[in-house]
């Protein structure tokens, strides 16, 4: 039984032939935005027809910000205020960042995340990334003619919780509603799989500008199931450039360089690396600020030799991913190559040797992630075409655990667990009469807490005094569909309860985000109230539509009383939606949400039963 949906008079109908939800690939080197158009994903270009946006931001003393090509053109001239590869600093402290000594920035080692001092003030990686995302948002709004419904933003699969949280914060700061954080190799797999109607086990080998991911997926009948993922969130094309730079400094016997010369030679090193993909040698010439001229030639043999150890670094994670998947190389049907750095012949060779087959290169490695993200955005926004009924099942890349006595890690959610996932573990008190417990949440595969990444600390208070070992404190980890973690603890022996949810200490608090939003130039002019009204209206309309269609489809499940209650609150919401009081809308939304809680649960139970009965319920949408 299909139900035709009819828009209410006076309400704008859902956009036809065009989706308002976009996919964004926020890359180390380049960023892109794509959208579903006429059933196909398309990358949106700038006024000059360029799809890639260099992920470079320049802060000018007069407060202006340049993003992309404009900033790229001035990077050697103004290296301290022109930030490249900011993705490497997301969710990272200064000590975590490789080659910081070669980066021409004025670092500020803030707690949690490193920050950069620029002529426009101290900037966090979240703000700098938000400037890139903001430009892409405006590009998309221009192309689609109005506000966006939301965005799927991609992250490296091997990004930990702090890096994911930082990315989500950046998107929010850029005024985007994040529909989902999507793993880059998974996005590529969607684009490849849907394009080629692929079935079977595939590996996605994703070497970008700053990160390496390897994901093993099982593709079957429209379900993309990630079975294992591994990688190195600090390995990418940038490292190859660094090697060329070091070789150059040695070959040309360069003295210690200033920031401008350093950036100039890094740019030249990168150009040489890219040139070597298609040529046997690359000549590097540059004029330094003291007038000296650098003129060296790098042949591909030397290049391969000085970067061999970097290529080697992709092998371990790949083997581990296969082992975690319980698969052998023979089981893999195809290896999809993603990321600009996979263009390097030695990387292609290494992947080919590892999997004993020629890698698949029929998709543009720079664009495939954004295209996949757009497809997922379309699917989440309810804009899927006929026969495009596919589903994504992804995993968390790194184990999550809690510190126990002696600095050891008790693993709670193991790596490669399918998300959403929840897992609980009981802990008890160590001393008689202990009334509080402190928890330290960590992420990583090592046994010792000191070798893992610290995500958060929190305390549970109000445990009734008991003898040691008598309290039963249940700690629950919940990982949502974005791969983000929340943790709660509850003492249950005496019925006394106390719980706390935590956000990783590397992320910014909601308050900090709000403050940044208010402070930012882009939003200062924006009327915050108008914005809140718009947001609540969208949410209210969405909820009202969902409830209406739920009542039409499954209203029979309800008793007369419950139905009347829901209808009354639905009517109340519809009444205030036309008004301008955003608080009234919010209150009505909350009330309707509460009223439909039980109904939603019943419908979900029913749909599980129907799925078991093998009936098709593709149209269940609320």
């Amino acid at each position: 039984m299909a139900l035709f949906q009819i828009a209410e008079p006076g309400q704008p109908p859902a956009p036809r032939g065009g989706c308002r939800a976009v996919g964004i690939d926020l890359g180390t080197t380049h960023s892109l935005v794509a959208v579903m158009r006429g059933g196909a994903a398309t990358v949106l270009t700038d006024g000059e027809g360029r799809a890639l946006l260099p992920s470079i931001v320049r802060y000018l003393p007069d407060g202006r910000t340049e993003v992309g090509y404009a900033a790229q053109a001035r990077q050697a001239e103004d290296p301290r205020n022109t930030v490249v590869s900011i993705k490497r600093y997301m969710g990272r402290g200064l000590k975590d960042v490789a080659h910081a000594e070669n980066a021409p920035y004025d670092f500020v080692d803030a707690p949690g995340m490193v920050q950069l001092r620029t002529s426009a003030g101290v900037k966090s990686p979240v703000e700098i990334s938000a400037d890139i995302l903001g430009l892409l948002r405006r590009r998309a709004e221009l192309a689609l003619g109005g506000e966006l419904a939301g965005a799927v933003v991609t992250v490296p699969a091997y990004f930990d919780d702090a890096q994911r949280q930082a990315t989500k914060d950046a998107a929010r700061l850029a005024g985007l509603e994040v529909l989902r954080l999507l793993n880059e190799p998974t996005a590529a797999a969607i684009a490849y799989g849907l394009e080629n109607a692929a079935e079977g086990v595939y590996a996605v080998f994703d070497l970008g500008g700053g990160t390496f991911d390897i994901s093993i997926l099982r593709l079957a009948k429209g379900v993309f199931e990630v079975v294992a993922t591994n990688g190195d969130s600090a390995l990418g094309g940038d490292d190859w450039d660094q090697r060329v730079f070091c070789w150059l400094a040695e070959a040309a016997k360069l003295p210690p360089l200033d920031a401008r010369d350093m950036r100039l030679l890094l740019v030249k090193s990168r150009e040489a690396r890219e040139h070597l993909t298609y040529h046997g040698e690359a000549r590097i010439t540059a004029k330094l600020s003291n007038g000296d001229v650098v003129d060296e030639t790098l042949d591909s043999e030397t290049f391969c030799r000085i970067t061999q150890h970097l290529v080697q670094k992709t092998i371990g994670p790949t083997r581990r991913a296969l082992r975690d998947a319980g698969l052998a190389v023979e089981d893999v049907k195809g290896v999809v190559m993603v990321g600009g750095a996979t263009r390097m012949p030695q990387v292609q060779r290494a992947a080919g040797e590892l999997f004993r087959r020629d890698p698949l290169n029929n998709l543009d490695p720079d664009k495939v992630v954004a295209l996949g993200a757009a497809m997922q955005a379309g699917a989440l926004a309810g804009d899927r075409g006929e026969g495009e009924d596919w589903l994504l099942l992804d995993v968390i890349p790194l184990s999550l655990g809690i510190e126990t006595m002696g600095g050891l890690v008790e693993r709670i959610v193991p790596r490669n667990s399918t998300i959403p996932a929840a897992r609980a573990q009981e802990f008890t008190t160590f001393k008689d009469g202990q009334t509080g417990m402190s928890f330290h949440v960590v992420q990583g595969e090592r046994e010792l807490v000191s070798d893992c990444r610290s995500l958060a600390r929190f305390e549970l208070k109000g445990i009734p005094p008991m003898v040691a070992g008598a309290a039963r404190v249940r700690v629950t980890f919940q990982v949502d569909a974005d791969g983000l973690l929340s943790v709660s603890a509850r003492e249950a022996t005496t019925g006394a309860e106390s719980s706390v949810a935590v956000k990783p200490s590397y992320g910014l608090s909601d308050g900090a985000i709000e403050r940044m939003l208010r402070d930012s130039v882009a939003h200062a002019k924006d009327d915050m109230r108008a914005r809140a009204l718009r947001e609540h209206r969208v949410e209210g309309e969405r909820l009202a539509a969902a409830v209406r269609s739920a009542l039409a489809a499954d209203g029979a499940m309800l008793g007369a009383e419950e139905r009347a209650r829901i209808e009354e609150r639905l009517a109340a919401l519809e009444r205030v939606l036309a008004g301008t009081d955003h608080r009234a809308i919010k209150t009505a939304v909350d009330a309707l949400n509460r009223a439909t809680e039980e109904f939603a649960a019943q419908r979900m139970d029913a749909s599980v039963r129907r799925a078991l009965a093998g009936r098709s319920i593709a149209n269940l949408d609320a």
Binding site: R319, R323, P420, A550, A622
Partner: protein, 172 residues
């Protein structure tokens, strides 16, 4: 839908068709996954996350040979007694010692080939134990015997994980 088996429309048994389980898992996730409810109200979204989480957990439990055995025994009210009952047959323990020594030797010599061979041998041994478990649980309903075999299987699983970790260390 009380048990994981019922959730997937399967008979509660140790022997199980992996493909049927996978099909049922995908079928259910296709209808209740949070991605299907991105545009729905809070209540529906929350219900979807709860269901999806539960289905993932059920799938993980049934897919894994050790967890499936423990779960079936739990349904029968048989406690594996992992905390208290550590007694294992002497012969089995002696064999475990041997395997561990071999692992340590290979680790010390960074012999990935030897580790891969141990991995393969262990896989065969685990396979045999699983067949025996199916016989004990499904046919003979000898749950005490099954508990002992499950404990053995857990020993082998642990060893297997250590081989994996050692291989990972060698590769790093």
């Amino acid at each position: 839908m009380k048990t994981h088996f019922e959730l997937f429309g399967l008979q509660p048994a140790y022997a199980l068709e992996a493909e049927r389980l996978e099909r049922a898992y995908r079928g259910i996730q296709s209808t209740i996954h949070p991605d299907r409810f991105a545009q729905a109200g809070d209540a529906a979204r929350r219900a979807s996350i709860e269901w999806s989480t539960r289905v993932n957990e059920a799938y993980r439990t049934l897919k894994d040979p050790v967890r499936r055995a423990r779960y079936l025994l739990e349904l029968q009210g048989v406690d594996l007694g992992m905390e208290t009952n550590t007694a294992m047959p002497a012969e089995f323990l002696a064999r475990q010692m041997e395997l561990r020594e071999a692992l340590e030797l290979a680790a010390a010599e960074k012999d990935a080939g030897a580790l891969e061979r141990q991995h393969a041998a262990l896989r065969a041994e685990r396979r045999e134990l699983q067949d025996a478990l199916a016989e004990l649980i499904d046919a003979k309903r000898d749950y005490a015997g099954a508990a002992t075999l499950t404990r053995k299987l857990m020993f082998l699983d642990r060893l297997d994980q250590e081989i994996d970790a050692t291989l990972a260390e060698i590769e790093a």
